[in-house]
Structures are given as structure tokens and as C-alpha cells.
């Protein structure tokens, strides 16, 4: 090949082309080499090629050359390899290097092709980083995604986090995602998942469901699964894609929060009973005292020579009735403070208020307050936890009684009303004639630990409101007519009509 053509061929190459002699001295250094390394050809011709190499290649290069000379073996020849090279300005860059021996040259000469791969490496790095960030993000969010190819044209994609969520082991590496899910779904939720997959075949060809899965180790996970069918650019059906969010921790913390709330509610009931202990002792003392007196009267009747058996019978009947009364007070008390599961049942309002009365009247009697209970006839039933509702009413009644501590006798009255509103809800109202609510008290009334009472926990109203809300009702207050306050709360009527 004529010299000029040969030179222009070298210079038009995109890759750097460098030819060296058997001692490693540079003989050719094309344009691309000048551009990539920053040297002019004249600066490097005749110099050892190792000046283009950073440590440790730099020092090793003469050794490679010597070995080739003596053994005729060059490790690099014929194979490309990725190495690092050194620019004139001292910076390094990654490059692909291919080395060949110039045929028919004695002593041998070598030709090197060098491609700067800085850009490609950077793109690789970016891709690698974005993949690892995605994996990290999925890990943090506990979110996994997948691409399922229903026709089996290629294996399903299942992100690392999704594998982790589903507990996929190596044996299931190639199992389709839909099958992985079907194997794990909680028996009670299987129908829901099957239906969702079936719905993908029809418009809108997507779903958004929550269900539980059970893993091999017996743990249950709560999943939120969103999926839809995806089409390619031409509109051809391609695959179905989905994301699966592991809600287990959230569900568990919700459960824990609810349990904590239940314990707090229970604690509040206990502390209420603690505060009411004196009154309750008095309440139980009443029937005991009547029993003792009846029994003593009975003894006298029996011993008297002209005894009348009707008196004795009457006294005995009363002893029986009063013993039952004392037992009933204790039963209601135990029901009220028992550590128990919160459970909803169909509750008759009048029955509820009846049960409550014993407890509520304890304080009323102690504080010399009249308690009037006005219950509308034929109130519908409510779906509620009866003990929690009693707790709310008892709390409101006791607050009302306390609010009248400094009132003259004529005003000491608490009215508890239960009625049905036109919208169907049932409203309970507890009205007192105390001094009403100071504005700053009204503002903080429902804040936990806010209290105007010495020795109060400040939990009563906060807990009452959360109980009412949990039952789907509202709790609020208004000024009473004249003076004092009215606390209202509503409950939805039970929807199922009971045997009417």
C-alpha cells in the first residue's frame, strides 16, 4: 500500500492506532491517538510506549516485551482487554486495547488499537447505579414490581424486592409470578385474587386489591397489589405489569396502635372505678345493711311467742332480693373493669342505660345530685361495645356531677337523655347546671391529659371521643339552657332490624 494511503487510513481511524518496535518504541501514532492521549505524534515517536501507561502497567510493560521476545508468547495478542491509559496531562482513562503482531516483520513489531471507553463506562455506571437505587427504593418502600408474560414467550421479570416479599427460593426461580402468588395466597383471600386475575381479561383490564399471603415459615403478609395489562407501541398486547406493596408492617402497627388504645381505655375504666371506690362501697353497703336488718328483724319475729309467719316470709324474701341486688352491683362492676376483648354486639339503649344506672347513681348519691334518665320509648338498637359505651356515658355523667360541686341544692341535677334524631341516629345528651365551660377549658377539652380536676387523669373525654368515633358517631358540647353544659354524642342505629 502506498505510503500516503497507508497514512490516511491510519489517520481516519476512530480508534487510536499505535505501532511499536520490538523494544517498545513508538513508530506510528495516528490522529486519533493524538486526540485521545493529548500528545502530538512528534512528541512520542521513538519513545517507549510505556509512557502512555499508568502504574502498574507502566513498570510491567518492559517485562511483557522481554517475555514475548524470549518465548514467542504474548498474552495479550489476539485478545482485547480493558486497561487504563495515561494522557499527557496525567489523567487516566479506561480503554479497550487490542494488540496484534505486524506480520512478516523481523524483528517483530506490534500494532495496538485503543478505544477510549470513558463514555460507555459512565453510562454503564449510571445504569448500574439507577438499578441499585431502584432496588434500594423498592427495599425502603417494601414495594416490588414484576412483568408477567402470560404466553411464556420470555421468563417473567420479578424485582429483587418482590422476590424478598414473596420469599421466593431458588427452586422457584423460573416460576411465573401469577403462580408464585397463587401458591402463597391466604385461603380466605384466594377467591379475591383469582377473580382479580380473571378480570384482567376484560376492560378496564386492571385491578387494585389487598390480600394476605402465607409464607413457608408460617408468617402472614398483607399485600397491596396493583396490576394492569400493557401493550406495545403498535397496540399489541404484550404482558401484564404490576406492583406489589408489602403493608404488613403498617397493618401490624395499626394493630398495635389499636391494642394500645384498648389498653388505655381499659386503664381509664380502672382508674374511674378507683375514683368511684368510696361510692361503690356505699352502694354495696346498702343491700348488705338491709340484709342485716331484715335478718335481725326475722330473728325477733321467730323468737316472739305470738309470731306472724307472713312477717318472717316477707323478711326472708327481702333478704334474698337484697343479696341478689348486691351480687348484681358486683357483676356490673366486674363487667365494667374486666380486661376483655372489644366486641360489637346489638345493644338495646334502654338496657344499656339500665345497666349503667347503678354505677352512675353511685356518684350522684355521693355528691347529692339528682340523676334523671329520660329514654325515648322504642329506640332502635345500636351496634356497639356495650361496656365502652357505658364508659363514655359514665364519664360524661361524672363530669357533669363534678361540674356542680359548688352549686346550690336546687340546681343539682343531671339529665341523661336518649332519643332518635330524624336522620335515624341515636343521640345521647348529658346536661348539667354547673358553671359551664370556660373558653380555655373548651379549647383543650379533648386533649389527652388536660384536666381541671385535682387527681383527674385527663383521659376521660379524649378516650370517650375516640370510642364514639370508633363507633361511627360524633361527640361535642353545647351550652345548656340557662347555665351549665350539655355533652352530646351520636351513634348510628343498627341497620339490621331485629325481629320486627
Amino acid at each position: 500500500m502506498p505510503r500516503r494511503e497507508y497514512q490516511s487510513l491510519l489517520d481516519s481511524a476512530v480508534d487510536a492506532i499505535i505501532i511499536i518496535d520490538h523494544r517498545g518504541h513508538i513508530e506510528q501514532f495516528n490522529r486519533a491517538a493524538e486526540r485521545i492521549f493529548g500528545y502530538a505524534a512528534t512528541e512520542v515517536l521513538g519513545r517507549n510506549v510505556s509512557l502512555l501507561m499508568p502504574a502498574p502497567y507502566h513498570a510491567a510493560h518492559d517485562g511483557y516485551m522481554d517475555r514475548y521476545q524470549s518465548t514467542g508468547q504474548a498474552r495479550i495478542i489476539g485478545i482485547g482487554r480493558e486497561v487504563r491509559a495515561l494522557r499527557k496531562d496525567g489523567t487516566e482513562f479506561p480503554c479497550d486495547l487490542a494488540v496484534g503482531e505486524v506480520q512478516g516483520s523481523v524483528p517483530p513489531r506490534f500494532i495496538g488499537f485503543i478505544r477510549d471507553i470513558t463514555q460507555r463506562k459512565r453510562a454503564d455506571e449510571l445504569l448500574r447505579r439507577s438499578e441499585s437505587e431502584l432496588r434500594l427504593a423498592q427495599g425502603l418502600a417494601n414495594l416490588g414490581n414484576y412483568v408477567a408474560h402470560g404466553d411464556g414467550s420470555e421468563p417473567d421479570y420479578c424485582s429483587t424486592q418482590l422476590r424478598r416479599i414473596l420469599g421466593v427460593d431458588t427452586a422457584e426461580e423460573r416460576t411465573p409470578v401469577t403462580e408464585l402468588l397463587r401458591r402463597r395466597v391466604h385461603p380466605d383471600d384466594r377467591a379475591k385474587l383469582d377473580e382479580a386475575f380473571a378480570n384482567l381479561d376484560a376492560e378496564p383490564a386492571e385491578f387494585d386489591i389487598e390480600y394476605r399471603i402465607m409464607l413457608a415459615d408460617g408468617t402472614t403478609r398483607y399485600l397491596h397489589h396493583v396490576a394492569r395489562l400493557a401493550h406495545d407501541e403498535s397496540g399489541r398486547l404484550l404482558k401484564h405489569v404490576g406492583t406489589i406493596h408489602d403493608l404488613t408492617e403498617r397493618r401490624q402497627s395499626e394493630d398495635e396502635a389499636r391494642q394500645l388504645q384498648d389498653r388505655l381505655t381499659q386503664f381509664s375504666r380502672l382508674s374511674t372505678m378507683g375514683e368511684m371506690a368510696a361510692g361503690l362501697a356505699h352502694e354495696i353497703n346498702q343491700p348488705l345493711s338491709a340484709i342485716a336488718t331484715y335478718a335481725q328483724a326475722c330473728l325477733r319475729f321467730v323468737r316472739s311467742p305470738d309470731r306472724d309467719d307472713t312477717d318472717v316470709l316477707q323478711a326472708l324474701e327481702q333478704i334474698n332480693a337484697q343479696a341478689l341486688r348486691a351480687g348484681e352491683i358486683i357483676r356490673r362492676l366486674r363487667n365494667f373493669v374486666r380486661n376483655r376483648e372489644v366486641k360489637r354486639e346489638t345493644v338495646e339503649c334502654s338496657r344499656l342505660l339500665d345497666d349503667l344506672r347503678t354505677l352512675a347513681e353511685t356518684d350522684a348519691r355521693l355528691q347529692n345530685v339528682r340523676l334523671n334518665v329520660e329514654v325515648e320509648a322504642d329506640l332502635p338498637t345500636v351496634n356497639a361495645d356495650p361496656i365502652q359505651l357505658q364508659q363514655v356515658i359514665l364519664n360524661l355523667v361524672r363530669n357533669a356531677i363534678d361540674a356542680m360541686a359548688d352549686c346550690p341544692q336546687s340546681r343539682r341535677e343531671v339529665v341523661l337523655t336518649a332519643r332518635q334524631l330524624p336522620e335515624g341516629e341515636i343521640e345521647f345528651i348529658v346536661a348539667d347546671h354547673g358553671s359551664g365551660l370556660a373558653p380555655e377549658a373548651a379549647e383543650h377539652l379533648f386533649n389527652p391529659f388536660f384536666t381541671t380536676k385535682a387527681g383527674g387523669t385527663g383521659l376521660g373525654l379524649a378516650i370517650s371521643r375516640s370510642i364514639v368515633r370508633a363507633h361511627g358517631g360524633r361527640l361535642w358540647h353545647t351550652p345548656n339552657e340557662g347555665t351549665g353544659a350539655r355533652f352530646h354524642f351520636t351513634l348510628p342505629a343498627a341497620t339490621a332490624s331485629t325481629g320486627e
Partner: protein, 207 residues
Amino acid sequence: MIKEIKPTVFVVDDDAAVRDSLRMLLKSVGLPVEVFDSGQGFLDADRDDRPGCLVLDIRMPGMSGLELQVKLNERHSILPIIFITGHGDVPMAVEAMQAGAVDFIQKPFRDQDLLDRINQALEKDAGSRRMLAERNMIRKRLESLTPREKEVLDLVVAGKANKVIAGDLNLSQRTVEIHRARVMEKMEAHSLAHLVRMVLEVARAEE
């Protein structure tokens, strides 16, 4: 003289069972008993001037036992009151005693303890009533005196001799003696000492 009404034990308690058991107990020992379920009920029945005693629950909704006691004091009732208290009502019981209650008893009580207290209260009531009757009798006798006899009585009780009284009232000594004899007769006094005691008794009550 009118036959005295038999003393009655009045029971005021809002708790039906306690009230009824007390009624039976008192019936079993043959004491007349009337029961009321509220302080107002007792006031409305106007029994507070009857002989007897009152067994009163200290805690009641509406009018409490203490409030009924205040009302009865306002009505100058002398009916002795025995309060029935629960546990922890000692401060209220003290207040009741300071306002003149004869006693209090904690529920539940031994029947004999209550009956003893009731008997003491009934005796006290009888004594008070005797004293009141006597006072009324003395007042009636005093009212029967003429103004001049009243003047002589005051000076006699002040310890003055007839001669001094005659001088003070500008009367003859003989006239003073006649008035004095009429006073002794109208007042049914056995002696000068008896006369003085009667006048002081009434004066003390009116202080």
C-alpha cells in the same frame, strides 16, 4: 288532760330496702313506725311536732339528711335525730352532731345498737316534752297575773323584802302581802324557792 300520743319512730331513707328493713325491725320490737322516702316527704307530713324520734339517712339525693336537719331546726322541732351513715361519712356525722343530733350509727349496724339509741332518743324526747309542757304551764300562770301582781313578782324574785317592795311601789306593806299571796296561789308555788325556779326556767328559755 288529753291522753298522750304514743311516741313514733320516723324513718327517712331513700333506699327502699333499707327503709323497709328498718320498718320491720321496729315492728318486731313493737315500736310504732312511719317511713318516708325523702326529707321533703317528711316535712310535708307535718310529723315533726309529734313525740318520737327521727332515724335519718345522712346521704340522700335531693334534700340530704343534713339539710332536713337544718329545716327542722328552723321549724324549732325538738324531735331527736339519729343519723345513719355509711363508711367515710364521719365528717358529715360530726357536722350533724354539732347541729344537735343525738347520735349517729354506721351501716350496717347491730339491731341492738340501733334500738338502744332509739330508746335513749325517745327518753330524751319525752323529757324535752315534759319540760316544754311545764314551761308552757308556767307561762300560762304568768299570763294570769295582773300587771300589779307581775310587778310584785319581779321584785320578790329579785330578793326584796315586802317592806322594800311596798316602798318601791308606793303601796302599804299589807297590800304587798295580799298581792304576794295571790301570786303564790296563781303560780301554784309551794315555796319562794319553787316560785323563783319557775320564773328563772321561763326566763332562761326566752333568752
